[in-house]
Amino acid sequence: MSKLLARQVEKARRPDGEIDLDRLLELVATAYDEVEQDRERTDRSTALMFEEIDAFQANLRKEITSRTAELNQSRRALKLQNKRMAAAVDSTGYAVSIFDGAKRLVFCNRYFLELYHLPKKYGRPGTPFEDMLHARVAANSFVGDDPEAYFDARNNGVDRRAVFTDVQRLNTGEMVSINHLPLPDGGWVATHKDITEFSRLQDELAHRAYHDALTGLPNRHMLQERLGQCVAESDGLGSFALLLIDLDGFKAINDTLGHSAGDALLREVARRLDETVGDAGVVARMGGDEFAVVMNIGAVARDAHALAAALLDAARHVFMIDGQNCEIAFSIGVAVAPGDGDSVEKLLKNADLALYAAKKERRGGYRVFEPAMDKAMRDRRQLERDLALALERGEFELYFQPILSLKRHTFSGFEALLRWHHPTEGMISPARFIPVAEETGLIVPIGEWALREAIATASRWPSHLRIAINVSSVQFQRGNIVATIMNAMAAGNFAPERVEIEITESVFFENSAANLNALRQLHALGVKIALDDFGTGFSALSYLLSFPFDKIKIDGSFVRALDSAAGAQAIVRAISEIGHRMGIVTTAEGVETAAQLRNVNAAGYGEAQGYLIARPMPASQVMRMLEGEEDSMPFEPLQRAAS
């Protein structure tokens, strides 16, 4: 009997010892119920437990699916982000590498691999730094010829854990600039820039800064540095020389043959200079058509003379440019240190003064600096300053010299001549100040004043008298000469036919086309055009063909030579003959003696001017003379000459 049943029997026993059957059955039935209930409870909880676990599992699966999707999304986003990062890094144009504290690659961009000629596999994160170095040795993209020394240097650089920048030339030829920045985790980030091209440009720029692009010669800047070196090295004791060279006739070639021919000529000049100087010094192009030579320390005055002579000689051989013969000459100014200057500035200035002197003197010569040049230059500068003030101070005055008509035996007009009353130096000769006025450009306002003044004066004269006015070629170039003359005529209500413009052949030297055009405009208005100082200078007869001059004025030097030089007679007659044949009036200037007057008259000249006839006189005197107050008979000398 089971224990439970035994207990149930005991519980069902009545006090009299008998079994209460109903009670026993009730206990047994309850026990069955209890067991059944427990079984049901167990089944239920087990089933529920599995349900719960199933649901839990389903949830988990759902969660895993969703998380996996999220993870994949994140992974894709990260990949994109990484690509963007790499693109951003690439866009900087830098090669970038990042290593961790264990010296393993974290990241590098493709420029990095390209720069060091590394195979793609070395770009994989985790690549040891040592492997990278070995690969660079294999690719020869390392520095120096000793791989071990290179490894040591790179490892030391990294192990120092400091910021540094370095420029290296790889064995493959690239110049690389490296910026190294240690990171807190013991690693580092390095940016590498290929500066090969940059470095080449830098060298080129440096070369350009010191060299002339056209000729390849050192430029003014470098010449000055070289001069500075010589000054410093010689320390005021050693001798060396500076030669400044200017080309004569270059401008004409440049104008006629064009700039490319001009450039070719300059290159050839540079070559000859360099060849001639050789090891004796440094040749530089100062700009334009100006060159310079700094002779080495040890060169004395005698050496400078020899070199200058050799250079002049070098210019004598004809320059063949574009199949054409070009003739130029050098003007050279020489300054010898230390005597002619102990500083760069002084040497340059003095050589320049010498060059100025040389150019003034003659074509194709050289001058060595003399202290007097300095004085002359200072005087000239003073003259320039005074001249600039002279106009507003009213220091100019016009004198008028009568022009005698040899045909009608009357005055045909006057030539206006400029006079300058200097406040301290008194009267200054036009021969002295006109060239200065021309060089400085002051001739333009001065000439304009003279035109207005002359026409205004002449407008008070009888209408048969003409006024002859000298116009400089500079006025043609820099001023608007046509407008100036028209304005002056309009102001004086003066007939153009009474105006005679005297020009020299220099008008044809530069801008000849434009100048000719201006002449034609004036001529069309009725203004007479006279060619002055004919017979001196180049006096090319072609000028007479290029413009229909109204008058030729033979230079006074020929007239004066009639007394002494035998050939003068022939020239004077020949010019008269040309004028006669071309229908151009001829005027003889500088007639001072009766014999001369007779001579030019006999030669057939239409007009004569000179002291014999009348000296230049102030306007007031002209007026008195014209009004008969002045006892000045134009016919008397003529009569004397005739007798």
Binding site: Q8, E52, F56
Partner: protein, 382 residues
């Protein structure tokens, strides 16, 4: 020490028909709420043990004589040779005062020669864990404390505790044992097995559990109990105790049992704290495993007692009402299994409770247990 087990019922009087007064220092007694509600039991006890101090409580069934009874009162009368005792009592008006009540009890009993405490407490209105904390805080961790929470069958309406007088609701009573002669043996074991998924306490307040895994806790229980047994809540919830643990110390597990439910808000009140974010897992029992648990607890207590040979041993069993609900008529087998581990002439007395108090078998820390069989053995050195 002399121990006597006696049984009384209103109808039949003393089971042994004794009529002479008897000497005893302490009488511990257990009876149904119904029995305790009538003054007759107190008269009978006073008449039989006129000098004894009386301490008792209502139960979910009294153990004695190898059986479980709902009708008769079971008592253990103890006479000491070299041990002094002192009783203490306090009233708990609000469960939140449970810890304070424990401190009060502990303070009343505290003494340098306090050797151990046996405590009986109201089983519905007192937070057992807090009460134990209070007692331990007052007397120190080295004094062993055992006992239990009074029961009310499977009704969960009112529980009563008596201390030298009429039983009262919301009452806590305790007896302290003093001197060096007294010996204790304690044991506690469940025998319940966890099942189903591990859950998380997501809403709770003290011993009030509101949500598990974000869902009302009561729904979970109703689901597992099924419609029929759900009608018997909160008693039927004892069939599924809950094992909880701090996720930071997953091996330190505690078993919690339900005291009451509030169907309106879906909350459940447990016999101890249900801390937020702790891990919770349902448990269920099987007859054999529960019986094995009872045997294991007793075996542990016997091993701990180390009683002198020949000295008398008294055994008080406090077992959880949930065990009785599950095992039904076969609950006798639990008592049988426990008794088999005791010395040959030791007859245990005890009751089915709403919570058990005993030092932890492993750590020795006194704590409230649920769903366990706890064993308190008493003896005096010769």
């Amino acid at each position: 020490m002399r121990a006597t087990q006696v049984y009384w019922s209103d109808l039949d009087g003393w089971a042994d028909d004794a009529e002479q007064p008897q000497t005893a220092d302490l009488v511990l007694y257990f009876a149904s709420r119904e029995t305790l509600s009538s003054p007759a039991h107190l008269d009978a006890l006073r008449a039989r043990f006129p000098e004894g101090q009386l301490m008792g409580c209502s139960t979910g069934g009294q153990m004695g004589d190898g059986d479980v009874s709902d009708d008769r009162l079971a008592a253990l009368a103890l006479g000491f040779d070299a041990t002094a005792i002192r009783l203490a009592q306090t009233i708990v008006d609000d469960p939140d005062q449970s810890r304070d009540a424990g401190v009060t009890i502990g303070a009343q009993l505290a003494s340098a020669d306090l050797a151990g405490i046996f405590v009986l407490s109201d089983g519905i209105h007192v937070n057992g864990s807090a009460l134990v904390d209070g007692i331990v805080a007052a007397v120190g961790p080295d004094v062993p404390v055992s006992g239990g929470l009074a029961g009310d069958g499977s009704d969960f309406v009112e529980t009563l505790v008596a201390c030298n007088g009429a039983p009262q609701s919301r009452s806590v009573a305790a007896v302290g044992f003093y001197g060096s002669a007294i010996r204790f043996g304690h044991g506690s074991a469940g025998g319940w097995d966890v099942f189903g998924p591990k859950r998380k306490i997501t809403k709770s307040h003290g011993n009030l559990l509101l949500e598990v895994d974000g869902k009302p806790a009561l729904d979970l229980y109703k689901l597992y109990l099924g419609p029929e047994e759900s009608q018997k809540l909160p008693g039927s919830a004892l069939l599924f105790p809950m094992r909880i643990s701090d996720p930071r110390h997953p091996s330190r597990t505690v078993v919690r049992t339900v005291l009451s439910v509030d169907p309106n808000i879906g909350s459940m009140t447990f016999a101890g704290d249900m801390p937020l974010d702790w891990t919770a897992q349902l448990m269920r029992g099987s007859f054999n495993r529960l019986c094995a648990g009872a045997a294991e607890a007793t075996h542990h207590a016997v091993g701990q007692l180390a009683a002198a040979p020949g000295s008398e041993v008294a055994a008080i069993l406090v077992s959880c009402i949930g065990r009785r609900l599950l095992m039904g008529q076969r609950i006798d087998e639990e008592i049988e299994a426990a008794t088999a581990e005791l010395p040959p002439d030791c007859q245990p007395v005890g009751f089915y409770s709403y919570g058990e108090i005993s030092p932890h078998d492993g750590t020795g820390h006194v704590q409230l247990h649920n769903q366990t069989m706890t064993v308190t053995l008493l003896s005096e050195a010769a």
